[in-house]
């Protein structure tokens, strides 16, 4: 069938600069560039271009430009270009439109409609370069009261303490499974988490055995509906366990790692045959109620001798506050909430772009609900889905998060350009692929350094902003909405967020 689709991108090569080195040809997994020896000419197949910008960055002569294709349909506010293109694609294939990474629709980003406070005159600001500033964060259940007895001069904690994990900074790497991402990308996350003193999340693809010795103590391992790679050693080696109920990019649906991505080592880690589709059912079939969830939470605690906090991750959906309350009452030590802008390796476009609610609203209402019910201290809240900078992180903590998960931001630090083609297995940056030729583009030694740099920079910015408010510990801003003000928000939005309008 002759395709009616317009190209998404146009590739321009400045021929006077091009030295025919063929770097672009080798770099492009989509076969956009081709060198013709006889004519000594580079040919371009721009209809295949996904706009990943790999060739542009790699071209030694800086001869390439890739930009949105200039051809346009007639302006139509209702029939936008992507609506057109997706419909045509479906007319040509009869299939579900797949996509990768996070929601790109212009839903209101509340981080951009809230501003932070700073102290002037009355409460002196603090310079983090000269004075100590605490970002250390503990994740897990806290006791309701702390009873301390003095044993002579030595204070002794009498209250029962629950298992907690310690983070040097309130930023963790979100669940990205080995299989969805490459071994080198996965290892880069693990190395960076270890070096910086935070955690990475294995997703549901298991934790390769050879990595356990060095990295398991910085791993949050998932137990999801596919139960891939879950055994006692996996659970007991980790720092924390997370039950994955849902994911912000695709609430209510399961996962589906295509057989092409289930290479030998991926198969071994997941303990399924090579080349078969790794299907994660939509629900966990032993969880149809809060009572069932409770059963799995305690099964995991049993299997790990009650030594690890257990987290439950849900997508932000309409009744998220009530669900979160149920989760805490079911025995979870941590509630992780993933908002509508959370990323994914593969999801149906219709779901990614239309299902779920923004994290900011979900987070604020969960935090408020748990406070109202007097059970906020029973759990930590991890917020996920669309964090782009340290200011987003700080605003989330002021809205009630204990720490945040970053996924897309970490990928971008590794090289990702949000081309949204993760599901094709042809990631030009070597991240979302199992193709050995592409995977080699990442060097964990270097890539992990980019991630560490990111954490370092954000942590420093967090300290600067805290210092500006006259606060010297991240604990003091947690859930402290007085330090937030809303800008151009409706009253209902201010109410849900629990913040005042600017100037109030």
């Amino acid at each position: 069938m002759y395709s009616h689709l317009l190209s998404e991108f146009t590739v321009q090569r400045m021929d006077d600069r091009c030295i025919r080195c063929q770097v672009c040809e080798r770099q492009c997994p989509n076969e956009v560039h081709e060198y013709d020896k006889e004519l000594d000419r580079m040919f371009t197949y721009e209809e295949k271009c996904v706009g990943c910008q790999r060739c542009v960055v790699m071209c030694p002569a800086k001869a390439l430009f890739v930009r949105s294709h200039p051809s346009e349909y007639r302006m139509n506010a209702s029939w936008t270009r992507d609506k057109f293109q997706n419909l045509k694609k479906q007319a040509e294939t009869g299939g579900v439109v797949l996509t990768g990474s996070g929601n790109d629709k212009p839903y209101r980003i509340y981080w951009d409609h809230m501003v932070l406070n700073a102290s002037q005159v009355t409460n002196p600001s603090i310079d983090p370069l000269r004075e100590p500033m605490e970002l250390k964060t503990f994740i897990g259940r806290k006791p309701d009261t702390l009873k301390i007895n003095m044993d002579g001069d030595v204070p002794k904690v009498e209250s029962e303490l629950h298992p907690n994990i310690t983070l040097k900074s309130p930023v963790l790497f979100s669940a990205m499974s080995y299989g969805a991402i490459s071994y080198r990308a996965y290892k880069s996350l693990a190395m960076a988490a270890k070096e910086f003193g935070v955690m990475f999340n294995t997703g549901e693809g298991g934790l390769p055995v050879e990595m356990r010795k060095d990295y398991a103590s910085n791993a949050i391992v998932q137990c999801a509906s596919g139960r891939f790679g879950v055994d006692q050693d996996y659970l007991n080696s980790a720092a924390m366990i997370e039950i994955k109920i849902g994911q912000g990019a695709k609430p209510g649906i399961g996962g589906h790692l295509p057989g092409e991505k289930v290479a030998q080592h991926v198969a071994q880690t997941r303990m399924i045959p090579q080349g078969t589709d790794a299907l994660s059912p939509a629900p966990q079939h032993d969880i149809y109620s809060i009572e069932d969830l409770s059963m799995l939470i305690y099964a995991l605690k049993e299997a790990t001798n009650y030594e690890k906090p257990v987290s439950v991750k849900i997508a932000a959906v309409h009744n998220v506050a009530a669900i979160a309350s149920g989760i805490v009452r079911a025995g979870a030590d941590v509630v992780a909430i993933d908002g509508i802008r959370g990323g994914t390796g593969a999801a149906p476009l219709a779901t990614r772009d239309n299902v779920g609610i923004p994290l900011e609203l979900a987070l604020a209402s969960v935090d408020r609900r748990l406070r109202e019910e007097g059970i906020r201290s029973k759990c930590s809240i991890l917020a996920a889905g669309g964090f782009r900078c340290s200011a987003d992180v700080l605003k989330a903590i002021a809205l009630g998060a204990d720490a945040v998960y970053i996924g897309t931001a970490a990928l971008v630090a590794m090289g990702c350009t949000l081309c949204q083609k993760c599901y094709t297995g042809k990631c030009a940056w070597g991240i979302c692929t199992q193709n050995p030729y592409l995977v080699k583009r990442l060097n964990p030694e270097i890539t992990s350094q980019r991630l560490v740099n990111l954490l370092k920079a954000w942590s420093h910015e967090l300290k600067e902003m805290l210092g500006g408010m006259g606060i010297n510990a991240i604990e003091s801003i947690r859930g402290n909405r007085e330090h937030l003000r809303g800008i151009s928000l409706e009253e209902w939005e201010l109410n849900v967020l629990g913040v005042k309008g600017a100037g109030e």
Partner: protein, 283 residues
């Protein structure tokens, strides 16, 4: 508990009022590698605390009397030496998730079991002298489970295998709906011994979404009871070898006649594709 701001109150059925192990020791007796527990009145966690405590003291053959609904029996036992195995006899009625994540141990249940027998079990063996509830052998990835009578709904969902690590589930009776749904590996044998002559198996949606593994089914099912990802085949020699081997083991556990079982009509259900949902997407 400070009780402030409590809108709905807080109650933790599971963790409240637990006694420490030293108080629980009265409920047990240990004699070398043998030990006995009287589970009467023990809470879920207390029983498992005590069980693990006895294992740490050297017990390797433990019988638990008066079990009445306690969950997760056997799951806590995680021993550094993978060869070090524990044998547990459970009298009579264990609770949900018996042997969930079980790592290599042997559990013999002298009575009925509830939901989640062998859930996500890794290795070892569970034998149930009675029936089992829903989601038995869900996501099981190794080891063997033998159930003398019927099982409930969603049995063997998403069972999986890797190379020579192949879980085996043998059921003497029949099963309810969603049997073998999403199965990705493993061997399941459903014998239907308690069905009347010419009576059909009860389950619907057998093997829906199945993309690996095999179900050997003795007796009759109608085509509409099967998921559309399932194909029906005759058994070949290697299939008979498998069936004979595990039927023999089943008969050994429950003292029934092997000939009679093997004389029945068997059929083999297997997935028609390892990628059932390979072409529903527009790339």
């Amino acid at each position: 508990m400070n009780g402030l701001n409590m809108k709905f109150g807080w109650r933790d059925n599971f963790m409240d009022g637990l006694r420490p192990v030293r108080e629980l020791e009265n409920f047990s007796e240990i004699n070398g590698v043998r030990a006995e527990i009287d589970a009467q009145g023990l809470k879920h966690k207390e029983l498992n605390d005590l069980l693990f405590h006895l294992v740490k003291k050297g017990a390797r053959e433990i019988s638990i009397k008066n079990v009445f609904g306690q969950r997760y029996i056997g799951s806590r036992i995680f021993l550094p030496d993978a060869q070090d195995k524990v044998k547990i006899d459970v009298y009579n009625f264990p609770g949900n998730d018996l042997g969930v994540f079980l790592g290599g141990h042997y559990i013999n249940v002298h009575g009925n079991a509830q939901d989640g027998v062998g859930n996500t079990m890794d290795s070892g063996q569970i034998v149930v002298h009675g029936r089992a509830g829903d989601v038995a052998a869900m996501s099981m990835r190794g080891g063997k489970v033998f159930i003398r009578d019927n099982v409930g709904y969603r049995t063997a969902i998403h069972m999986k295998e890797y190379k020579d690590k192949v879980p085996v589930l043998v059921i003497g009776g029949t099963a309810q709906d969603f049997f073998g749904e999403y199965m990705a590996g493993g061997k399941v044998i459903l014998l239907g011994l308690n069905l009347k002559k010419d009576e059909y198996h009860k389950a619907h949606y057998i093997g829906t979404g199945m993309h690996g593994g095999v179900i050997y089914l003795r007796g009759n099912v109608e085509e509409h009871q099967l998921g559309k990802e399932v194909g029906v085949r005759q058994l070949d020699d290697s299939d008979w070898e498998v069936v004979t081997k595990y039927v023999k083991e089943y008969c050994g556990h429950f003292d029934v006649s092997e000939q009679e079982i093997l004389a029945g009509k068997f059929q083999k259900l297997l997935p028609v594709s390892s990628r059932p949902y390979g072409n529903i997407y527009a790339y």
